[in-house]
């Protein structure tokens, strides 16, 4: 087990192993080949952050740069998927989904349903999300909740290198469209990753840490923040259970409800803005199906309902921090009827 690699290397390895295993797997996206445009150096970079580095040299024309037109790129990928390929298309920033939204939510998500199960759309759309990169309001959002809202899409947000590899291989082998959300700030995270191929089933939450006093459901990058908060709280005698849903669609309701049944307290940590979000969704789930378990009101730790600020100090304040999570947990444990 002991081999450690980075989150972005885990994604690269998943792509590499699936391309080697299945010729139908192709990659398309802006600058995924190289980005320099210079002959002989096309492979040098491999995407804006180097995630697809090295794959062009191995797989040649199965990895292709697209024009800077998200609607053309995603439309082509969806069409290729509907006709037998397994495209992994990279849409650099989740913020750019707006220009190709029809292809995703009104086409890809509907094919299986509207063609009576006779059409499949095994496309994966990899995309970066999240704040913390000083990339301003148009490159820093957490829009996974938009896709979770649409029936027919699967939405994945790995929080560790191990999960990134296993969930991406599962996404590629899955016959439905998958939105695969990678947090920019996690690319440099290191962790144990098996060299062999493996899959992690969708809809199975990970119990990251066991505890008895408070359930923290955290998504993506927030899992690490929740872990830091739980370490601090443990010293105060507060035992936190951390649940990482891993996929927001399908969503593992049972694991969350079982945990809240045991702890009686729930804190949801979601980097997204607070309205119509995963935080409100999970909150309503527990309020409806687990009301009798609750010993205190549900707490949500989210970004405020504003665009992501460009000013660095403000951006740091915008993102849920371990300290804010600790405060929310203490609010649940100190609550008196």
């Amino acid at each position: 087990m002991a081999r450690k690699i980075l989150y972005q290397e885990a994604i690269n390895e998943a792509l590499d192993q699936e391309m080697a295993r299945d010729e139908a797997v192709i990659i398309m996206g802006e600058d995924v080949v190289g980005g320099t445009g210079a002959s002989g150096e096309m492979d040098a970079w491999g995407g804006v952050l180097g995630v697809t580095k090295g794959l062009y040299g191995k797989y040649g024309d199965r990895i292709m740069d697209s024009p800077i037109s998200e609607s053309a790129l995603v439309g082509a990928a969806v069409g290729a998927a509907a006709t037998g390929m397994r495209p992994v298309c990279e849409l650099m920033f989740i913020d750019f989904m707006g220009v190709c939204f029809d292809q995703i939510y009104n086409q890809a998500a509907k094919f299986r349903y509207m063609f009576g199960g006779k059409a499949e759309t095994p496309v994966v759309i990899r995309t970066m999300y999240g704040a913390g990169f000083r990339a301003a309001a148009q490159h820093s959002q957490c829009l996974y909740n938009l896709f979770t809202h649409v029936p027919g899409l699967k939405v994945v947000m790995p929080s560790s290198p191990y999960d990134a590899k296993g969930l991406l291989i599962q996404a590629i082998r899955d016959n439905d469209p998958v939105i695969f959300c990678e947090h920019k700030a996690l690319y440099a995270m290191e962790g144990d990753v098996p060299e062999e191929s493996y899959t992690i089933p969708f809809g199975e939450a990970n119990i990251v840490r066991e505890g008895d006093d408070v359930t923290i459901v955290a998504l993506g990058r927030m899992v690490t923040h929740a872990g830091k908060a739980a370490n601090t709280l443990a010293k105060e005698g507060i035992s936190c259970e951390i649940i990482d849903p891993r996929t927001t669609s399908p969503f593992d309701e049972e694991t969350v409800l079982e945990s809240v049944e045991n702890t009686g307290r729930l804190v949801i940590v979601d980097e997204s803005t607070p309205r119509c979000s995963m935080a409100t969704d999970i909150s309503s789930l527990v309020a409806q199906k687990g009301f009798s378990f609750l010993k205190a009101p549900i707490e949500m730790v989210t970004a405020p309902h504003t665009p992501v600020p460009f000013n660095g100090s403000l951006e740091d304040l915008y993102i849920p921090s371990p300290e804010k999570i600790e405060a929310a947990v203490r609010a649940t444990t100190s609550y008196a009827h």
């Binding site: 002991a2 089933p201 694991t255």
Partner: protein
């Protein structure tokens, strides 16, 4: 009173990667008299929870560690001393111990796994672990769905007096998932070839569950390679087996499916912790594992019946044969230890389940060495 009359009880080291353990609870009161092997406390490590047993006899004069405390390997848990040792001497002993105790450093990156070795048998890559350098060779063979970590509490103690090898069978652990021949005879050939490859001409084979059937088959078909045989909760010597456990284990994809199955493996379900479940799921998710397990299970059982019957071979074996069973084994019933031929030594350990080598580690280790 000299310090010699005072003995420290310290945090044990269970397995290579353990650097600390968490005290769950004390099982004995202060001033109670402990005999060798008495249960002292429950301890949880990253890998497993287990009961720590007394390694020395004496009066427990002081409980130093408290419940929920996480302490490094070798840290002071309690103090044994004679009744006439003064409290002042015990205080001084504790102060001196604490002043000199240095907790182990977390291992350097990869160090925890660095002792694993790999070798190739044909196209198959086999992972193994060697510990100790005594004259006697011991080879530990895990059961269906397991890996060499199931000898966590076995290998290191045995290595004090022997050269002890554990391996991951094909399709298991970190060995190749492609299985060339998943039958018991095929896997016995793997064990024989493994022994050749690591350069040991003969060994005491210790097999658990399916590994027991493999060890026994090796003793039958490669008699010269086997000095002694220990079969723990073994397959291959009776018909019944919990087929639902096996098929459920092969099919399970989630924590929810696998947890109740794993709890059937032990007398005390508290042994099965989150990390153990996670490790098994991580293994089961690897490409090729489901196919390997399906093939291997087809090689030794059909439904609730085992299809490999080596019971009749036991009487004719020339080497010492030792059979160990947990009385509460819910996978392969302990009744298979009844009415074995006279050359077989049988020990049924009361209250333990199928994973008796983990649950009653010191008893099993003593029996293996006897």
């Amino acid at each position: 009173m000299s310090d010699a009359a005072i003995t420290a009880i310290t945090m044990p080291k269970w397995g290579l990667s353990m650097i600390e353990g968490k005290v769950i609870e004390w099982l004995v009161e202060e001033n109670s008299t402990l005999a060798l092997g008495d249960e002292i406390m429950d301890i949880e490590t990253e890998k497993i929870a287990n009961t720590f047993e007394a390694l020395d006899a004496g009066i427990l004069r002081r409980r130093v560690a408290v419940a929920d405390e996480t302490l490094g390997v070798g840290a002071l848990l309690g103090v044994l001393a004679s009744a006439d040792t003064s409290d002042e001497d015990i205080d001084a002993f504790i102060a001196d111990f604490q002043a000199n105790y240095v907790p182990p450093e977390p291992p350097e990156e990869d160090e925890a796994g660095a002792n694993y070795e790999w070798l190739n048998l044909g196209d198959q890559k086999i992972r193994y672990l060697r510990m100790g350098d005594g004259a006697q060779n011991i080879v530990l063979i895990h059961g269906f769905g397991g890996d060499l970590d199931l000898w966590l509490f076995t290998q290191e103690p045995l290595a004090a007096n022997a050269s002890v090898y554990s391996l991951d069978l094909p399709g298991h652990g970190q060995s190749s998932k492609a299985v060339e021949d998943g039958s018991v005879a095929g896997l016995a050939n793997v064990v024989a070839k493994f022994m050749d490859a690591v350069g040991i001409s003969s060994a005491h084979l210790v097999g658990h569950s399916l590994g027991g059937a493999i060890a026994l088959q090796t003793a039958v078909s490669h008699a010269g390679k086997v000095d002694a045989l220990t079969l723990i909760g073994s397959a291959g010597i009776g018909e019944e087996i919990n087929g639902d456990y096996i098929s459920g284990f092969v099919a399970a994809e989630s924590r929810r499916e696998i947890k109740p199955l794993l709890k059937q493996l032990v007398g005390d379900p508290g042994l099965i912790n989150r990390k153990m479940i996670d490790d098994i799921l991580k293994f089961k998710r690897l490409d090729g594992v489901t196919e390997a397990l399906t093939e291997i299970s087809a090689g030794f059982l059909s439904g609730d019946k085992q299809t490999v019957d080596l019971r009749g071979e036991l009487g004719g074996l020339s080497m010492p044969v030792n059979v160990i069973w947990g009385s509460e084994d819910r996978i392969i019933p302990a009744s298979h230890a009844n009415d074995l031929p006279g050359n077989v030594t049988v020990n049924v350990l009361e209250g333990f389940g199928h994973l008796v080598q983990l649950e009653a580690a010191s008893d099993v280790n003593r029996l293996i060495q006897s």
